[in-house]
């Protein structure tokens, strides 16, 4: 890390801080202010898109824990999100308040994920990805087959709106601020998790399992806990999603979405929560730009069919992931830090 002259540390804790100088604090405050002001300036569509992006970001934070920190591949993030969404929907149907339903949703997803993470004790590498793949494939089959009075079966489940102090959160603006609060809490969690004892243990497991075991890290335990923590985020995201969309069906939680989340993380960079943010913003930006552009394209050529936009965005994301893997495995987060360093030492080429 490159810091301006005169910044010094007297303890390890101060060095571990994310914000060292007052300009950094100012930028952060400006970002938060911008996030609060945006829905008043931009259209309703942008507000909705940002809300969905925040929910996606929560799920991608979770992936960053499992995939980025612990190095365990998880292709079922969207199914774990679905578990959370169904749990929240079920609890809201029983008149549970949101502050109970959303943590419970996170916990439900985390507990389900443990069942699929157990093979982690025995296997490593891609084998583990296959158990999460099994989770992703089994999720809709099982939900649809359960008695419809449990989880709504094929028709899905309606979700009661959130009530805070006697006021219903029903407008898009309300939901925007609600998810913004949620994503801020998740951000604090994700950024702090990485520098905690737990996060460092996960990084040790990722970098070298044998070395981690030798230094006293319980590898099996931390592998399972990586899934637990990652799916906790996914479940919370699912809870928010349930309250946002107000109707939960299995179609919202498919394999392609899991791959999209994974793609966002890879494009952004696996090594830090910043990568999750950059990747989610970048891919959502492309997607929305393409959505706007694709709408115009469809209006011009109506015989192309509605699947075109979806198919093309899949192709674009696939290419983005492959380019990131081949040319910049450290992702946008690394590019960002290079850019920041260059800005700080300008006009000198290197420090």
């Amino acid at each position: 890390m490159l810091l301006p002259t005169g910044v010094r540390f007297e303890s390890f804790a101060t060095e571990g801080r994310y914000i060292h100088t007052w300009p950094q604090a100012m930028w952060l405050a400006a970002l938060l202010l911008a996030l609060v002001v945006v829905p008043h300036v931009m259209s309703l569509y942008v507000t909705g898109a940002l809300t969905v992006m925040f929910i996606t970001l929560m799920a991608v934070y979770g992936l960053q824990v499992t995939v980025g920190m612990a190095g365990q591949i998880n292709v079922a993030q969207s199914a774990f999100m679905g578990v959370g969404a169904y749990a929240a929907a079920r609890l809201s149907g029983m008149d549970a308040p949101f502050w109970l339903a959303i943590p419970a949703a996170g916990l439900a997803a985390a507990i389900v994920s443990i069942a699929f993470a157990l093979p982690a004790i025995r296997v490593k590498g891609f084998y583990l990805a296959l158990t999460t793949l099994a989770a992703q494939v089994m999720f809709p089959i099982i939900v649809l087959a359960l008695p419809s009075e449990w989880l709504g079966g094929t028709s899905g489940m309606a979700v009661e709106p959130i009530e805070i102090a006697g006021r219903m959160l029903s407008t898009p603006l309300d939901m925007y601020y609600f998810t913004l609060a949620g994503v801020l809490i998740c951000s604090v969690g994700a950024f702090n998790l990485q520098r905690s004892r737990f996060g460092r243990a996960l990084c040790a497991v990722r970098d070298n399992e044998l070395a981690a075991e030798v230094t006293g890290v319980n590898v099996s335990y931390y592998k399972v806990m990586a899934f637990f923590a990652g799916s906790l985020f996914a479940g919370v995201a699912g809870g928010f999603f349930a309250y946002y969309i107000r109707y939960v069906t299995t179609e919202n939680f498919n394999l392609l979405l899991s791959i999209w989340y994974l793609g966002m993380l890879i494009v952004g960079g696996l090594s830090s929560p910043l990568g999750a943010i950059l990747g989610t913003v970048f891919i959502t930006g492309i997607q929305e730009a393409f959505h706007a552009f694709g709408g115009a394209l469809l209006a011009a050529f109506p015989n192309l069919g509605g699947g075109l936009v979806f198919a093309t965005s899949n192709v674009i994301l696939g290419i983005c992931i492959l380019l990131a893997l081949i040319f910049e495995p450290r992702g946008l987060a690394h590019r960002w830090s290079v850019l920041k360093a260059a800005y700080r030492i300008w006009p000198f080429p290197h420090s």
Partner: protein, 294 residues
């Protein structure tokens, strides 16, 4: 009793045919150390090539199918050059991610090139069934099963008894070791993808002949994955036995358990078996047990 045997025969034939798809997973892993999650999409594109060159441009199947297979080889070579050559020697994690990216990329490409509509697949194998004593065997599946067994034996001989095949074992173990022993990893990856693409195109002929083909055919890949894993990712013959086990299990479950579980048990059985395999015998029935040394 006869009913139960009939159910098991059907399950066995279906399982053997699915194990052909599983073999295409195994072949790619066994010769290049790539777990290709996008195998279903490769199969889908192979099937769509076959459709294009038979029903699409109205060629007789004797000409159309070979052209389609050549197209599959071309696709495999493009994938090797553009994607997997730059990733030689990268961690299995990166290669796995690349195959996931390939999954959505190919699905998008298939939708862009052929559209999402459902098409009839040409009838390349006879329909109907032969009766053997009191039992019936669907002609399509029986031919498919015989084809699978013979292809598997051929591949087994190639991998275990030819110099070229044994070289690939080194690549499956470790890219750097293989390179240092003078084995061309590039060539191995190309061979792997050509075999994988052609095998899955053949599998699509058996599975889809006289049926319909749409984008959902890509799901076949995910259904075959448990078979590949149960047999062991490095064992071609293992896939055959695993296919038989899972096929029979699925058929029995669909007849005897499904009425009580709304048709779920047969669908999730392969995946439950897969998780069980990973828990108790991660290398599968006949896979290589990896021994780690410091």
């Amino acid at each position: 009793m006869i009913d139960a045997l009939q159910v098991m025969i059907n399950g066995l034939l279906v399982g053997l045919v699915y194990s052909l798809v599983a073999v295409s997973f195994v072949v790619i892993y066994r010769s290049s150390r790539i777990v290709n999650l996008a195998q279903g999409e490769i199969l889908l594109i192979g099937a769509l090539f076959i459709w294009t060159f038979t029903l699409g441009v109205k060629l007789p199947w004797g000409i159309g199918v070979p052209i389609a297979l050549i197209c599959c080889v071309g696709m495999a070579l493009i994938l090797e050059r553009a994607l997997f050559r730059p990733l030689i020697g990268e961690s299995p994690f990166t290669v796995f991610m690349a195959s996931i990216a390939l999954l959505i990329l190919l699905r998008g490409v298939a939708q862009l090139a052929w559209g999402a509509e459902t098409r009839p697949f040409p009838q390349l194998l006879p329909s109907g069934a032969w009766s053997v004593g009191p039992f019936l065997a669907t002609k399509r599946l029986l031919i498919g099963a015989v084809l699978t067994v013979s292809l598997v034996e051929l591949l087994h001989w190639f991998f275990m008894h030819t110099r070229q095949g044994l070289r690939l074992a080194a690549v499956a173990e470790d890219h750097y070791t293989a390179l240092s022993l003078g084995v061309s990893v590039r060539q191995a990856v190309a061979v792997a993808w050509i075999m994988g693409a052609v095998l899955s195109a053949i599998a699509s002929v058996v599975l889809l002949s006289d049926q319909i083909v749409s984008l959902t055919a890509a799901g076949i890949g995910l259904r075959a994955l448990p078979i590949a894993l149960l047999g062991g990712m490095q064992s071609v013959r293992g896939a055959l036995l695993a296919g038989a086990i899972i096929g029979v299990g699925e058929a029995l479950a669909s007849v005897y358990v499904d009425p009580f579980t709304k048709g779920v048990s047969s669908q999730i059985l392969p995946f439950v078996i897969m998780i069980g395999v990973l828990l108790f015998r991660p290398q599968g029935l006949f896979g290589w047990k990896v021994i780690e040394r410091l």
